[in-house]
Every structure is written in structure tokens, then in C-alpha cells.
Symmetry: C2
Subunit: 315 residues, 2 copies
């Protein structure tokens, strides 16, 4: 492996000059810089990150901590990791997957945390390394997320444009920030149109939504669209309607949120918000690395939602 010294020898300069060419190129004359660059090229030199890390007491490790139960069937986290890993690789950082349990084993330069709930706030506040959350929050932590409010807002709008006359919101029964945002997107749309909002909340299981439809079938008028906070709930609603003999999308509309896996087994497919988790993961990594290098708050990174058209809203 070629080292700084090899390059220095070849370029006839001290190794410090080489180091400077890499880290503070403005402090070296163009002439020498050219020599050094050439030597680096000829020797195919790549700085040894380990040595550098030893000096500046860094680790070049980023820990990804998934606080939710990850034993799910969703490719969500896989995509997230792929996205993060992609960025980190480019900057020669490596990704370490940890759980709350082995969180403190080994050092790192920063954290990406996802699935944060209220109870985790203090813990996160006390972390001594930069943190970026994946998922919006209202505690001032930097984060990356889809614009949740805009998502339900535009889906509600679309449903109304398609002529559905009642909009029922089916939310997740949790106090997480994204849920509030999704609710408020629906509410805003409904209020702008001077309609009466109707909200229901369940744990995020399709069968609960399905039961809800079955038990309230007689009270649900035709021409209703359900704006759901997740694809999972949307699938449940869809199944409930089908089972009760309702016609989708002619008499009833359904929209979801997520666009990851479940959408692929539903029939017809749910019209939903598509989130490019990979892309968002990349952004997450970049945000964190910027933060590490600049030591400054980077702010939130919000992705504008895109509708993924399925067959659960009229054409």
C-alpha cells in the first residue's frame, strides 16, 4: 500500500507537503501541488483512513439505530440501509447496525436513528455525537422525512377532484409526529373545502381497519373515499369494502401512505404516496456527514411526496 511518504519521495517534497495538498491545498504553491498530484496519480495513492482516524480521534463509523421492532416483513429498512450505505461508502465511512441493546459497544462519529418515540427524546438529547433522525419530530432534532402533511393533503385533494363526496380519515393510533402531520394534511384539505372532518384511529393493523368497515358498513354512504395513514390500514379498508360488496373505485375510494411493500399484494393496488426510501437514506447520510464535518446543525430535509397511482381512486 502506498503511503504519504512514498508520494513525498516521488514528488521530492516532505510528507507534510503531501498532507497539506490533501487537506489544505490553498497553503501549497500550484507548482508543488501539481507535482504531488502527479505522484499520487502515478502511485495510485489513497489516504489511510485508519491513520487519519487515529490522529483526529474519529472512527469513520456511523451507527444506524432502529428503535422499532425490525422483525417486520417490510423492505423499508433494507432500502433505508442501502441508501445510507451508498452515501457513506462514497465518503469512506462505514455503517454499523446497532440496536438499543448494543448501542454503546464501540465508538462512532455519529448516529442515524429511526423509529424514535417520545420516551427516547432525553436519551437522544444526551448523545455526544451528531445525530440525524429518519422520520420527522418536533424536538428540534435534524431529520429526513417525506412531507407527511403534504402527502395526505394532495391525496385528499385528488380524491375530491375525482368526485368522492365524503372523506374519512383512517389514522394510526399513536402519538408520533408523522401521524399528526398526516392528520393535519387531511384536515386542512377538508377545512378548505368546508367539509366536516371524520377521523378514526386504530393500531396499524389491516384487520382492525377491515373490521371497522364491516361493523359500520350501513353508516358509510356511497361516494366515500378513505384517506388512510398507512398502506396497511388502506389494505384493511379495501378488504372490508370488498367483503361488504362495495365497489372500488366506482363507489368507494381508498388511499394509503408509504408505497413500500404491501402495495404489491393488494388487488387493486392502493393509490398511495410513494416514498423513495433509498434516496431519503442517502440524504440522511449526507446530512449527517455534513454535520460531522462542519459541526453545525443542518436542519430538516423534507422530501415532497409523489403519488403512486393504483386502482383505488376513480380515473
Amino acid at each position: 500500500m502506498t503511503t504519504l511518504v512514498d508520494v513525498a519521495r516521488k514528488a521530492n517534497v516532505s510528507k507534510m507537503t503531501v498532507s497539506r495538498v490533501i487537506n489544505h491545498p490553498d497553503k501549497v504553491t500550484d507548482e508543488l501541488k501539481e507535482l504531488v498530484y502527479q505522484a499520487m496519480r502515478e502511485l495510485d495513492y489513497h489516504p489511510n483512513m485508519i491513520a487519519r482516524a487515529l490522529v483526529d480521534k474519529s472512527t469513520r463509523i456511523i451507527k444506524l439505530c432502529i428503535l422499532e421492532d425490525i422483525d417486520t416483513t417490510e423492505p423499508y429498512y433494507m432500502n433505508l440501509m442501502i441508501g445510507i450505505a451508498k452515501t457513506l461508502d462514497l465518503h469512506q465511512y462505514s455503517l454499523q447496525l446497532v440496536t438499543r441493546k448494543n448501542f454503546d459497544i464501540g465508538n462512532c462519529d455519529g448516529y442515524i436513528i429511526t423509529g424514535m418515540r417520545e420516551q427516547d427524546v432525553d436519551w437522544i438529547k444526551n448523545l455526544k455525537k451528531p445525530v440525524v433522525l429518519f422520520g420527522e419530530n418536533r424536538y428540534g432534532f435534524d431529520y429526513v422525512d417525506t412531507n407527511n402533511k403534504a402527502g395526505t393533503y394532495i391525496l385528499s385533494q385528488l380524491a375530491l377532484e375525482k368526485g368522492y363526496q365524503h372523506l374519512i380519515y383512517v389514522g394510526i393510533d399513536s402519538k408520533e409526529s408523522f401521524e399528526y402531520s398526516r392528520e393535519s394534511g387531511y384536515l386542512q384539505q377538508v377545512q378548505e373545502k368546508r367539509m366536516v372532518p371524520e377521523l378514526h384511529r386504530f393500531d396499524n393493523h389491516s384487520h382492525l381497519a377491515e373490521e371497522f368497515v364491516e361493523q359500520n358498513w350501513d353508516k358509510i354512504p356511497k361516494n366515500t373515499a378513505f384517506i388512510c395513514a398507512s398502506d396497511r390500514l388502506a389494505i384493511g379498508i379495501e378488504r372490508g369494502i370488498v367483503r361488504c360488496g362495495g365497489k372500488i373505485p366506482d363507489d368507494f375510494g381508498v388511499t394509503g401512505f408509504d408505497g413500500v411493500f404491501l402495495n404489491q399484494v393488494a388487488s387493486p393496488k392502493i393509490t398511495t404516496i410513494k416514498q423513495s426510501i433509498i434516496e431519503m437514506g442517502s440524504a440522511c447520510g449526507e446530512n449527517l456527514l455534513d454535520k460531522i464535518e462542519s459541526n453545525e446543525q443542518q436542519g430538516a430535509l423534507v422530501f415532497e411526496p409523489k403519488i403512486s397511482f393504483g386502482g383505488t381512486l376513480r380515473e
Copy 2:
């Protein structure tokens, strides 16, 4: 952060002695060792992996390279990563997720490769760091996998015990080693019972298996069990049988292989081989780390298959 020198000072020895207590404890007297251990405890000392890595030119990075298309809906790779990460964490290694494209960016101490095909063999042979494959192979590479042959063998056996009188094997149309093994497990069972084998092969898509059943429905006698090389194919067979009016499990049996995701949406659930990918991932990590530290071939690690009972074979 406490260092070797801090510990040495506290224990009144040289830092070399502390280093030896950690790496070659047999070369230090018990008396000093005790002193050092105590100092380490009191100071909560943890060796700096970066410094160590600088000396022995290691990186403490393991690259996981997934050669197949990972944009699937299976949680398979997620589980694999969780398993690997678990072990690596314990040994203060970190996991880097790479694709063939960015494979060479940055150094590492070893590779875990999955999804290898014939065309990758030469490339893998030329890698200069230890490699463990996830998935069996016949090129002499160390690997971790389920005992594929035993899997179809015991499923075939089970089907026969349940009284099905014909066994049809539905395989994946590929030349990968695991497929050969699964075929041979079926074949061995069938031959032991002096039955006539019947094999069909398709790309690993459920609809192909489904079409096969529909097109050959009249030729398939009652009391047949289908031994499938994947859950995906099994689901297709199941759907085909249901669509043609066949009764599962009374008149027809179906078994799969994998037990990861698809099993959860099938109705009835497929009787299949359950693979604990997480556990296998851990084993993979351990195997590789042993190899790195001992510099010796570790051999294959084969997990014995376990049947996951669904509703596609008679009670």
C-alpha cells in the same frame, strides 16, 4: 478516553506490560496481571481499535456484497444483515454494505458474499482477503447454508408419510448449487421408495407454477404432493390447484422452501423449510472472523433444516 498509558500508570507498569496482558497474557506473571486487570476495571479501559488497526494494517471492516438484485420484497437480506451485524458488533468489527459496483472502494479485512453465480467464481477466487459465502457452492469456498438436500428429503418423506402417492418436484430453472441439492434430496427420497421421479423446472415466479397446474390439470392425479424448490413456486402451485377446484390438503399436498416472507400471505400457509436467516448470518460472521484471525479455511457450516408446518399437507 482512557488509554494504555493511563492503565500502565495506575498499575505501575510499562504500557508494554498492559499490552501483553491483553494480547499475550501467558507471558505476564499472575501478580502483575491482577494489578493490570484491576486498573483496567477501575478506569473502564477499552482498547482503541483504530490504533491497533494501524499497527497490524487491518481495517476492522467486513464488506457484505449482495450479487443478486436486492430490490426485492423479501426481508431475507435484512435478516441476513441483522445476523451478521450482531456478531460483528460483538467483535468490534463493522459491516459495510457494498455492491459489485463500489466493491473496491476502501479497504477491508474480509468479505461475505451472497448470491454468487458461476460467472463470479474467478473474481472471488482472486480476492485477496478471506471470503465466506452465504449459500452453498461447489468450488471449495467456505460457506454457510441450510442443508438443502436434507430439506427436500425430509419434506418428501413427510409427504409420503401423510399418504400422498405421487410426488412431483417443482424446481427453479437455474444452475445454482442449492437447486441441484434440493433436487437431489427429492430424488433420493423417491428412489429409496422405488417411485418414478417427475421433475419440472421454471423461473422462480409463482404465476409460472400456477399456469403449469392449470395447463396440466387433467394429467395430475389426486393424492399428489408437489415438492417445490421455493415458497414462491409453492404459492403458485397452491393457487393453481385452488383455481382448478382441487382440495388442499385433502387431495393435493404442497411444500415449499424458505419460510421467509411469502409464507405469510398464502392461504393456507405453505408447509415449508424454515431458515433462520438471522442465526445463519451470525454464523457467517463468526466463520469469517475466525478465518481472519486464524488465517485458516474454516469449512462449510451447514444448518439442519426444520419443517415449518402450514396447512398444505394432511395432518
